[in-house]
């Protein structure tokens, strides 16, 4: 038996054309040339290890961070989460007409990384679970007359729960959502139920370990969006809003164990999504047909196949990184393997972001038109409301030409590559006293980054879903 695998996404009415061969060649050439150039002109003392944070005006800081403002941000977050869950439970089953799916998987999941990269951790104030947790904690303190006691968070667990959660969020959309033989994606009802389950889990964990502790290490969205926020230039320190040197906050991000797993999971899940209809299509269909022939049901076979491949992607991306780390550890004067493994994890954040832009840029631009027109006016998609008079608007797919999309995709990968190399070189100058050995260690990270960037380009040139 032989089946064609269905389209995994519920929202995609249009897919990107593969990047043409000439642009692939140019992109790869620029990456290689830039990489060798980087080796020859590297600076000798670290520039990003200190963030040079300085406060913004006290008035602005007070206005934006005042308790009433923080309550307002929290309320906005809670309201939007509730709206998405309500729309998912009560609205239409058509994924593209329901507010829930676009809001959760496009506006939030893709939008926050985008804004965080430039601004900083903008999700934190709007995080609905953090807001709810703080209210409950405050109420407990007021009633009991003492602050709530929490369990000690196991240090070694670190950010592993967030890494696993990240894979689960993507898995829900592109693996659970796809069912055998029929081209439908995740239905809004399932997304809403998942959001409810996740909320219960998150609030329970916050009760056990404390709100801030769980946001720092376990809460998927805080950790994931916060990771990209480290690239941005705004940050809060001691209750004051300030500006820091862009990229500098990444250098202290991976001090929590398991951080490398988070950034690896991000690259791996995006790779899988990009590859499933192109580079991995043959392998996926082969595995799927084997399972079906062995008597596994269509839906189970599809989910099992995709799950195995997502985990293989995670292992593969992690392995490439670890080989690079192992190589660096062999350079004279190197710190321990463990220190290097954590110490260079942040250099992959720009690569992870570049992968996101390369794979989801057009989807985000097109789907946000729906988000701010008919999905906002008719969140349930039942045709019963027209809150802002925009229900009849559609998505203008002519907004972006194929050429514009290609240039953004390849440009993002090249820029991400350059920033990744910059951060890695900077970290090497901090770890190795001798400049020549620092540069030698960077042959390894350079190989890792060229591998990721060229793999990203390859995925785009085969097909992109």
């Amino acid at each position: 038996m032989s089946f064609f695998l269905p389209l995994a996404h519920a929202l995609v009415a249009r897919k990107d054309l593969p990047v043409p061969a000439w642009l692939f060649a140019w992109g790869a050439s620029i990456v290689l040339i830039v990489s060798f150039f980087a080796l020859s002109v590297g600076w000798r003392t670290p520039r990003f290890e200190r963030d040079r944070w300085r406060p913004l005006g006290a008035g602005l800081s007070r206005a934006l961070l005042s308790p009433p403002a923080q309550v307002a941000y929290g309320l906005v977050g809670v309201f939007l989460l509730c709206l998405a869950i309500y729309a998912g439970l009560r609205g239409t089953e058509a994924p593209d007409r329901n507010f829930a799916l676009t809001f959760l998987y496009v506006t939030t999941w893709l939008g926050f990384p985008l804004f965080s990269v430039f601004l900083g951790d903008v999700f934190r104030p709007f995080n609905p679970w953090r807001a709810a947790g703080r209210v409950v904690g405050g109420a407990f303190t007021a009633l009991a007359g003492q602050r709530p006691a929490h369990l000690r968070y196991p240090e070694r667990l670190g950010r592993w729960p967030a890494a696993a959660g990240l894979i689960a969020v993507v898995w829900l959309e592109i693996v659970y959502g796809a069912s055998g033989g029929v081209a439908v994606g995740l239905d809004p009802h399932a997304a809403a139920v998942a959001a409810l389950v996740y909320s219960a889990y998150t609030l329970a964990m916050m009760a056990l370990f404390g709100v801030e502790q769980w946001c720092r290490t376990g809460e998927v969205f805080s950790v994931y969006f916060g990771m990209f926020g480290r690239l941005g230039c705004f940050g809060v320190k001691d209750g004051k809003l300030g500006v820091r040197r862009p990229l500098s906050a990444t250098t202290t991000w991976a001090t929590v164990p398991g951080s490398a797993a988070v950034v690896v999971a991000s690259i791996a899940t995006t790779s899988f999504d990009g590859a499933q209809e192109g580079a991995f299509k043959g392998a996926l269909e082969g595995t799927f047909n084997h399972l079906v022939d062995a008597g596994v049901g269509l839906t189970s076979a599809l989910r099992l196949t995709d799950t195995v491949f997502i985990l293989l992607c995670f292992a593969g991306v992690g392995l490439v990184y670890l080989i690079g780390v192992r190589g660096m550890a062999g350079v004279p004067g190197a710190p321990s393997f463990e220190k290097l493994r954590a110490g260079f994890a942040h250099t992959l954040i720009p690569i992870a972001f570049a992968y996101l832009v390369a794979h989801y840029f057009s989807l985000f631009v097109f789907q946000e038109q729906a988000q701010f027109t008919y999905l906002l006016s008719d969140p349930l998609g039942t045709g019963t409301t027209d809150l802002f008079g925009t229900t009849s608007s559609g998505i203008d797919f002519q907004l972006l030409s194929a050429n514009a999309i290609w240039y953004v995709q390849v440009g993002a990968l090249v820029v991400g590559h350059v920033i990744g190399l910059t951060l890695a070189h900077d970290r090497a100058t901090a770890y190795w006293g001798d400049y020549r050995e620092a540069a030698r260690s960077q042959y390894w990270m350079l190989a890792v980054m060229v591998a990721f960037t060229c793999f990203g380009l390859y995925l785009l040139s085969v097909a992109n879903a």
Partner: protein, 123 residues
């Protein structure tokens, strides 16, 4: 300057060779895409496209023309272009529209969620 060391020079030479290779290789297969001419007929039997999902390729600005002969009653939905046409069991329906939007799109039997066509519009 590190570029003076032999290892890097060798690396750079390999890289340049790789680039040349890539460009040469890519030059060979860049003219292989062909566009669809005339009217294609997609036959639907038992609610599925005969011979698998049809593939049509056009350049932007050309006319997309295809006909769906169906043995089931359903609605044919051309995604992206958002054109919907009903078809009766045993009947047929024709599509004729300019390829104005670049990208890869699917047409499906809306009621059955069955994809019947993948339409590619190149710039």
């Amino acid at each position: 300057m590190l570029l003076a060391t032999p290892r890097v020079a060798v690396g750079a030479a390999i890289a340049i060779a790789a680039i040349v290779l890539l460009i040469v290789l890519s030059g060979n297969n860049s003219n292989s895409d062909t566009t669809t001419k005339g009217v294609t007929t997609i036959a639907i039997k038992n609610g599925k496209p005969v011979g698998g999902i049809a593939q049509l390729t056009y350049n932007r600005g050309e006319e997309v023309r295809f006909k769906v002969d169906s043995d089931v009653s359903d609605e044919v939905h051309m995604h992206g272009y958002d054109i919907m046409k009903d078809v009766k069991a045993g009947g047929s329906v024709s599509f004729d529209f300019p390829a104005t939007i670049e990208g890869v799109f699917e047409a499906e039997l809306e009621g059955r969620k069955e994809q019947i066509l993948e339409l590619t519009v190149n710039p």
